[in-house]
Amino acid sequence: MKKGLSFVFMLLLVGCNDKYIIEEVGFLHSLGLDVEKGSDMDEYLVTGVIPQIAPDAKNNRELLTSVSSSDKEALLDLARQSNRDVANGQLRNVLFGKELAEEGIQENIRTMNRDPKFGTRVQVVVVNGQANDLLSQPYTQHPEASQYIDALLEKEARLNNIPETRMHQFTRDLYDDGIDPVTPILRRGEDTVVLDGIALFDNAKYVEKIDPKSSRIFFFLLGNYSSGSLHLELGKGEDDKTIQLLFDSIQNTREMTITNVDETEKMKIDIQVSIKGSLVEYNGPLDITKQKDLRTLETELENRVENRARHLLSVLQAQGVDSIGVGKRVRNSLSYEDWESLNWKETFQNIEINPHVEAEIINIGIFS
C-alpha cells in the first residue's frame, strides 16, 4: 500500500519543467564579437548565427545582430529578435574581431567560462577584420557559414596548420604563467573564409600573427606533432625557375635544453627539433635518388627550417609573447621562489634561444 502510494506520488512528480522542444529552440552556432566605436563609450557589436530549420525559409541560417555595452545583454537582445528560444548549448565558435582582441578579451573569456551552457569545446578565433563582416557574408558555396568555419578550423587543426584552441585550451594557457595563448586567425576571402595564420596573444590581448606559411614551423617549436606539410622555396634554379620543395606527412619532435638556468643574463635555451617526412615535390638540380644528393637536400632543408624558426622566435621575443611554452620548462627547472621572483616576460625577450633542426627524408614517393 505504502509502496503503491509512493509510486503514484513519484509518477505525479514526473516533471515538465525546463523542457526544450527542438523545433522551438534556436541553437546558436557561431557568435561574433566586435567593438563598435560609440560617441562616448565603446560598445559590443554581437553577431549570432543560428541554423535555420523552418522549411519555408529562404536562407539556411538566421543572422542576428545587436549592439550593447555588455556581451551578455547583447545576447539577450539577440534572443528578442528570434522567434525561437536562443540557446548557447551548441555554440561551436566564438569569433573576436581584431580590434576587440587587441583591446583584450579576458572579461569575455571569463564570462563564457562561468556560464555552464557554453561548454569547453567552443573554438576561440580571431578575425582579421570584423567578425560581423565575416559572418554576415552570403557564402554561395557554403550557405551555412558557421558549419563551414567549424569544419575548416577542425580540418586545419588536424593538419597542424593551426593549434586546437577551444575555450579550454585558451583559458588554460591564459592562466598558465609559463605560456601565452594562441588562436587561429581568419579573414574574409572572395566568397570564402580564409585561414590567415596563428594569432599571438600577450595575456588576453592580441599582438601579432604568424603567417600561415610559417604555421608548421610554429608547431615544430611547440611540441611533438605528426601530420601536416611544409612548402619551401629554395632559391632560383638554372633556368631561373624557383626551386620548390614540398615536405609532407611530417612527424616532428621537440626537445628543450636550458643552460645557466640560475643566471638570468646567461640563460640559454637550445631547442632541438627533429623532423621526418616524405618529399612529395622537388624540382631542383639535385638527383634525389642518390643518397648523397638526398643528404645535401636534407641539410638544405635543415638550414631553411632553422632560419625560419629563428625568425619566428625573434618575432615572439620582440613581442614578448612566449607562445611556445618555453616558460613552462624554465619554471620546472627552477625552485618555486626563484620562478616567482623571475620576470619571465622580460627574461624571455632577452635570453638567447637557438633552434637546431635535424631533418630526415623518409621517402621520395613512388615514382622517381
Binding site: S6, N17, H168, D176
Partner: protein, 362 residues
C-alpha cells in the same frame, strides 16, 4: 551473526566503501585540495588516506575487543540511558543532516547545469522517494544494490581515458605545496578529510557481517581504491588544467567531462552528473540508515516506512534554509568537521567503555 538476513560478500563491501566515500565531493576535490595545499596537492591525499586507515583500524580494535558487539550494545551495556539517549540523538541528527546536505548539494549541481528553473523542493522530493524505496529493504539487500550501482558509476572512470591526450606532466610542476594562501593548520586538514567520509558506516555494520564478509579487509581495500581514484582525478586535473585555472573552476571534475566529444555524442558532463546520482543516493541512504538505527535504540520499534520518513522530513526541515552555494558549502564544511572528529573519538570512547566493562567483570 547475520540476523538470518543473508550473507554479505567482501566484494559488495568493497564496492560499498567506494560508493559511500566518493559522492559529489569528487566534483570539487581537485580545486578544494589545490586551494588548501597548493601545487601537487595529491600527495596530501595519500597522507589523509593513511589517517582513514588508522581510523578503520580503530574500528577493527573495537570489533575485536567487543567480540563483534554493535556500537549500540557496547554503549547500552555500560552507560545509563540518560547518557546514551542524547548521544544517539546526536548520531541521528548529525547523520541525517549530512545525508540531506549531500542530496541538496547534488540537486544544487543539477539545477546549475540542467534544470535552472525547476523547483528545488520538487527535485528533492523525487530523490527522497527513491531513498525511501531503498530503505524498505533489509541492509544486506541495500548493500547488494549499492554493488550494482557501482557498476553504473564506474563508467565515469572509463570515460576519463579520453582526457589523456590533453594531459601534460609539465603542468604538474615540480613544486610541492606551493602557491596557496591558505594556512596549513588542523582545520584545513580536517576540511580535506571530508571527501573520505562515508567509511564510518563500517562501525555500524558489525551485527550484519559474518567472518566470511571480511569487513575490515574490504574497507581497507575500498578506501585504497577510493584513494587511487582521488589521486588519479586530482593528478589528471592538474595536468589538464593550468594551476591558476584550476582554482577558478568550481567543479573541475565535471568540467573536464564537457571537453570529451564523440562523433555521436557531445557534452558528456550531462551523462556524468546523472550517473553521480547513484553515488549521492547510496551515501544518503546509508547515512539515513545510521540515523534510523540510532533512533530505534530510543524508541525500540521497528518501522520501515514512517520512521525513515520522519527522519528524512526532519533533516530536510533543518537544512531547509541552506540553498545557496555559500550556505551549502559552509554547512557541509561544518557537518564534515563534526563527523571527522566524531568518528575518530567514537572508537576511542568505545574502547574505553570496553576496557571498563572488562575491569568490572573481573
Amino acid at each position: 551473526m547475520n540476523n538470518g538476513l543473508g550473507a554479505i560478500h567482501p566484494i559488495q563491501l568493497f564496492f560499498l566503501t567506494y560508493m559511500m566515500q566518493t559522492s559529489v565531493a569528487i566534483f570539487i576535490l581537485p580545486r578544494s585540495i589545490s586551494e588548501a595545499f597548493g601545487t601537487n596537492s595529491w600527495i596530501m591525499l595519500i597522507v589523509l588516506s593513511g589517517i582513514v586507515m588508522v581510523n578503520i583500524f580503530l574500528f577493527q580494535l573495537v570489533y575485536k575487543k567487543g567480540d563483534g558487539m554493535s556500537v549500540f550494545e557496547i554503549m547500552n551495556v555500560t552507560l545509563p540511558r540518560m547518557i546514551t539517549f542524547p548521544i544517539y540523538i546526536v548520531f541521528a541528527v548529525s547523520w541525517s543532516i549530512s545525508a540531506s546536505l549531500i542530496l541538496k548539494e547534488y540537486i544544487y549541481i543539477i539545477q546549475l547545469v540542467a534544470f535552472p528553473t525547476t523547483s528545488f523542493i520538487y527535485l528533492l522530493s523525487v530523490l527522497i522517494i527513491v531513498v525511501l524505496f531503498f530503505m524498505q529493504y533489509p541492509i544486506y539487500k541495500m548493500i547488494r544494490a549499492a554493488g550494482v550501482l557501482f557498476g553504473l558509476a564506474s563508467v565515469t572512470i572509463i570515460l576519463t581515458v579520453f582526457i589523456w591526450p590533453d594531459f601534460s606532466i609539465d603542468r604538474l610542476t615540480p613544486f610541492i605545496f606551493k602557491g596557496t594562501n591558505v594556512s596549513f593548520d588542523w582545520l584545513t586538514i580536517i576540511d580535506q578529510y571530508r571527501p573520505f567520509l562515508g567509511f564510518e558506516l563500517c562501525l555500524f555494520l558489525f551485527p550484519y557481517v559474518t567472518k566470511d564478509s571480511h569487513l575490515f579487509r574490504s574497507f581497507y581495500l575500498g578506501n585504497a581504491f577510493t584513494t587511487f581514484i582521488y589521486v588519479y582525478t586530482v593528478v589528471l586535473c592538474l595536468g589538464f588544467y593550468s594551476f591558476d585555472q584550476l582554482q577558478h573552476i568550481i567543479y573541475p571534475t565535471l568540467h573536464f567531462f564537457s571537453f570529451i566529444e564523440f562523433p555521436f555524442l557531445i557534452r558528456i558532463e550531462n551523462l556524468v552528473y546523472s550517473i553521480f546520482l547513484v553515488k549521492a543516493l547510496v551515501t544518503a541512504v546509508f547515512y539515513y540508515w545510521i540515523s534510523k538505527q540510532a533512533i530505534q535504540q530510543i524508541i525500540k520499534r521497528e518501522s520501515k516506512f514512517w520512521l525513515p520518513l520522519c527522519i528524512i522530513a526532519f533533516s530536510v526541515f533543518i537544512t531547509y534554509p541552506f540553498t545557496t552555494k555559500q550556505e551549502l558549502e559552509l554547512s557541509l564544511r561544518f557537518a564534515g568537521r563534526f563527523h571527522s572528529v566524531l568518528i575518530f573519538i567514537l572508537p576511542l570512547l568505545l574502547l574505553l567503555l570496553l576496557y571498563i566493562q572488562k575491569k568490572v567483570r573481573k
